[in-house]
Symmetry: C2
Subunit: 167 residues, 2 copies
């Protein structure tokens, strides 16, 4: 289990908002009804998306949310990062790019200095792989997938040999 329901609900929320176009905002109530999700919980989730600058809100009656950017420019690495708070595959991973901006990854394990844990190599690869996979999927693609309803073919995922070939 990599991700929590925050990611699941948050992505669904973005899809619903994106399906509407930016002409008028979509209320959380409408999304909660459409996706059968708890409204109060959605409120907290959408706050994460707003804080990350992915949606914009309009308060008051007939208010709601619109996408802050075009769906083509919203990629899932940013979305999941905003929702989950981190993309580290392991507890001891700290993403530290405030120092020199080079995006290096630390392993905060106790005796790291002595031995240099080899698991770091593994988790680094996993993190890179996941981030890439997420970055290659745009919100536009998900909306498109949801819209043209692939009646029954969608049952079968891509074969394990082939890397998902981009948006």
């Amino acid at each position: 289990m990599f991700f929590t329901t925050k990611a699941e609900y948050g992505v669904r929320l973005l899809i619903e908002v994106g399906r509407q176009g930016n002409d008028q905002p979509v209320s959380l109530k409408a999304i909660a009804d459409a996706e059968n999700l708890p409204l109060a919980y959605l409120e907290r989730i959408v706050a994460l998306l707003k804080r990350a600058g992915l949606v914009q809100s309009t308060r008051g009656a007939h208010g709601g949310y619109v996408l802050a950017r075009k769906p083509e420019d919203i990629h899932m690495d940013e979305v999941v990062l905003a929702l989950e708070g981190s993309l580290a595959p392991m507890e001891c991973f700290v993403d530290d790019r405030a120092d020199d901006g080079s995006g290096r990854v630390l392993c905060s394990h106790h005796d790291d200095s002595g031995r240099g844990c080899a698991t770091k190599l593994l988790w680094t690869r996993v993190q890179v792989g996941v981030t890439q996979t997420l970055a290659q999927t745009s919100l536009a693609e998900l909306i498109d997938f949801q819209t043209r309803q692939l009646p029954r073919v969608g049952e079968r995922p891509a074969p394990v040999q082939r890397t998902p070939t981009h948006a």
Copy 2:
């Protein structure tokens, strides 16, 4: 946080066992001391590895564990799967290959039949990506990485652009 400490400790355990060669078994006590990990907890972790056929045990005094295969033939997808029990990125993912053996992935969400959740596309890609990344890393490679100790260069992981290029 994708993985728990079971994966972390289990991989370290395999590395320690693999470093020794198969001439004589390695005791958990030795591993617990070397890696500074709780012995009682390691016992439960190694049980998972044994059940998956990755290590073999010898009981009694001077007993311990040896690898069941050559390190080159032990790949991390199998290891992490044995330790974590599942590689599903989301709760609603059920890996069901008992039916027809085709390895299709189900999403057990409530109204899946009606809409076909688009998030399934996303999580499927992530799962495939992670599985591939893990499968491309062998235990032999981790042992090698640990052994030739890269005194200080190991601080910097592989750049984010490049997919890890095989074992």
